[in-house]
Subunit: 474 residues, 2 copies
Amino acid sequence: MRDFLPSDVRKREYVIGIIKEVYESYGFEPLETPAVENIETLMGKYGEEGNQLIFKILKRGEKLSEELQSAGVSEFQSSPDSLNSPNSPNSLSDLALRYDLTVPLARVVANRKNDLPKFFKRYQIQPVWRADRPARGRFREFYQCDVDAIGSKSMTVEAELISAVSEILRRLEFAEPEFRVLLNHRKVLKGILDCSGISENQHVDALVIIDKIQKIGGAGVAKELLQSSIPTDASEKFRNFIFWLATESLKMPDDTPDSVNEFILKEIENFTSGHSDAAAGLNEIREILSLSKNGWAANQILVSPSLARGLSYYTGTITEIFAVTGDFKGSLGGGGRYDGLIGMFGKEQIPACGFSLGLERILVVMDERGMFPPEIAANTPADVMVTIWNEDSIGESLKLANELREQNLRVLLYPEPDKFGKQFKYASQLNIPWVCVLGESELAENKVTLKNMQTGEQKTILRNEVAASIQRTS
Amino acid sequence: MRDFLPSDVRKREYVIGIIKEVYESYGFEPLETPAVENIETLMGKYGEEGNQLIFKILKRGEKLSEELQSAGVSEFQSSPDSLNSPNSPNSLSDLALRYDLTVPLARVVANRKNDLPKFFKRYQIQPVWRADRPARGRFREFYQCDVDAIGSKSMTVEAELISAVSEILRRLEFAEPEFRVLLNHRKVLKGILDCSGISENQHVDALVIIDKIQKIGGAGVAKELLQSSIPTDASEKFRNFIFWLATESLKMPDDTPDSVNEFILKEIENFTSGHSDAAAGLNEIREILSLSKNGWAANQILVSPSLARGLSYYTGTITEIFAVTGDFKGSLGGGGRYDGLIGMFGKEQIPACGFSLGLERILVVMDERGMFPPEIAANTPADVMVTIWNEDSIGESLKLANELREQNLRVLLYPEPDKFGKQFKYASQLNIPWVCVLGESELAENKVTLKNMQTGEQKTILRNEVAASIQRTS
């Protein structure tokens, strides 16, 4: 897990600031949940692999002693999984660190329905923890940026989510051609799978394989499909259709996304003709495309029949931001509709749709491509530093620092008397653009020498002229 | 542990925003550390009681199996403390949740010295976790707001910390008479204890008792001193002097804090005459008072000889914000100088001084006293809501919402067609001040009806007049 030094925090806060500003302009409200959840809330929500990656908190005091006394070590040994199973009498753990922000949201919505509006639009930007083997770009503590709209099945929800996410990337200076919003629908996928002749109990297998297409390529997908238990004629029909669509759409580089999308939708319509779920899904996709004509996502959306997304709780639309920028090619986030998840925590099924932006990846790309504005990249704690000449002049330096702060400058006071050379060196190490020198002669004349650290120029001026001089040039 | 619903988050972020703005104006830089630390980093830093309150994370996978196999349960039973002792071979835990922000700071400063400036001024606002019994106003997850200056022994550090904290409270609308900065010095306390005849090995006992004076009153302190192992004549001399000073200073309500402070300092000087540590401490207090004459803390500082503060790592100045406001009477935070802590993590002793603001208490007081500005208290997700008339008009409503967002308004789109009555009710529940009605006639005329939700007034205007109408009145 990482420490974030000031330069890291400044970059994160810049990006998070824009994310918040955009989400709030769409009426999303901030929610925060505790880092620690009851272990039962998390267990069984993320599949077997997820269960293994949850950080579990040891019981405390008497409860821990009781567990250790009531169970023999042999019992723990013979069934190490009992530690992972919820409500196990042998469990050494009652709490756990949150694994994502979606399950805590579902818990809050189910438990605090009366404290929330019937349509609840929330964003949440907090760290999550996974006991994964750390690797380049993968951390055991990382931030998630989630935005979700609860309570409506309308496609305005999808259209606004896609628009907001596109606006965020554009405002972070990602150019329009650098990213696309891939759009698909679980019901459309179901139609394609059914009409390929793949039986329902093998749908998940097929989706898991096709979802890897960006990672393992077309040949890899073909190979894995052949190795799977799916009958070859069905898997071939499925693969051929998806691959053919992709190839055809690639042949249309000069066409607008609109006409490419229309081509893909028509072909899926033909392929799944008479399949009612597919027809419903296609209608929803068309509606999103139509509602997105005027927003930030206009010309950004690509209908992508091979997009499947791993999480099992999606029930309708699925989306992903795919970016090709600099050395980076991959996903910057994804989401979808999950109308069945909240019902797991309460009596009522409540429709929901969300998107999770990949903050850590966005930061890596922006860092590599130098996309931060100059004031963030400069990474300086202050607009100006004030020097200290000697013990007797500390009060005057402190007073000058206060005066400058009252004029809305960020002011660093060098903490103690020191050689001016050392004080300048310190300011320069911290990239502070201006230094106010209060030396012997300045103190005598009640003036100040203002030094531009970039050019080395300096001029002696009245104390009350300092702030204006700095503001004029920055 | 608590969920923070949008109204809670808005209040917290308002307060945190001001805290950050003020600290940054003094040149403090943001630092963030991970929630999870190695268990050895935390153990043994907070005393025996602290050790018990640390949330420990269970080892995972093979490492956990190994621990359970290598140890018999009887071993855990016979020495339950082995779970708490660092580096115990039997330990079931290798990681733990951070207990405060000071120890992680000391670790960062010791380990990453070369990545940090020689004077490092940092603030850090993050949650910490303590396995305490929850009670009113006490939580197992709570935010700490720490600010620390590393690397200098100069009293400018103390003066700026006190000034910044006072500025924060004033900008949060705490009035000048509602809080005082209590100031004392560990070396001065040492002098008073020595000159009372209390032997050095009983200093901690005496300080722990005198520190409770706000909680248990003078009679309580007197009783506990008599019950302690400190010889009665020494403890009486100590108590009499401290109590007499407090009583005398209370007799001077019309005097300026300056003259009260001068009286107290003089009397301590007499009492500890010839004690060199006390003299050094008194000099530092005088210097802070002198340096604070022009800043936000002018007239706020009270020298307080009974202030001791619990934490054992303080070595010099100690401070506390004491507030009396509404029903609240107590501490809003405290701090001090700890020149010996960082050396525990590295080879080098590095001087340091900090302050921790009690964010949770500040929020409680501000809530009870209605101190939040109207835009925060209103707790609304949007400046204006846009209605949806029917399925065919969704696109127009979405377009209007986008137009208004481009004019820097926060816009909530009602997500689906519905009776206008229901849409108005929803806007009113969310305290949204304006509603844009796009109904049948408005769509026909390409106009919009703008409804003021407070007065009920409505007028039909051109679409491009909406933003100006809203901005003019808010």
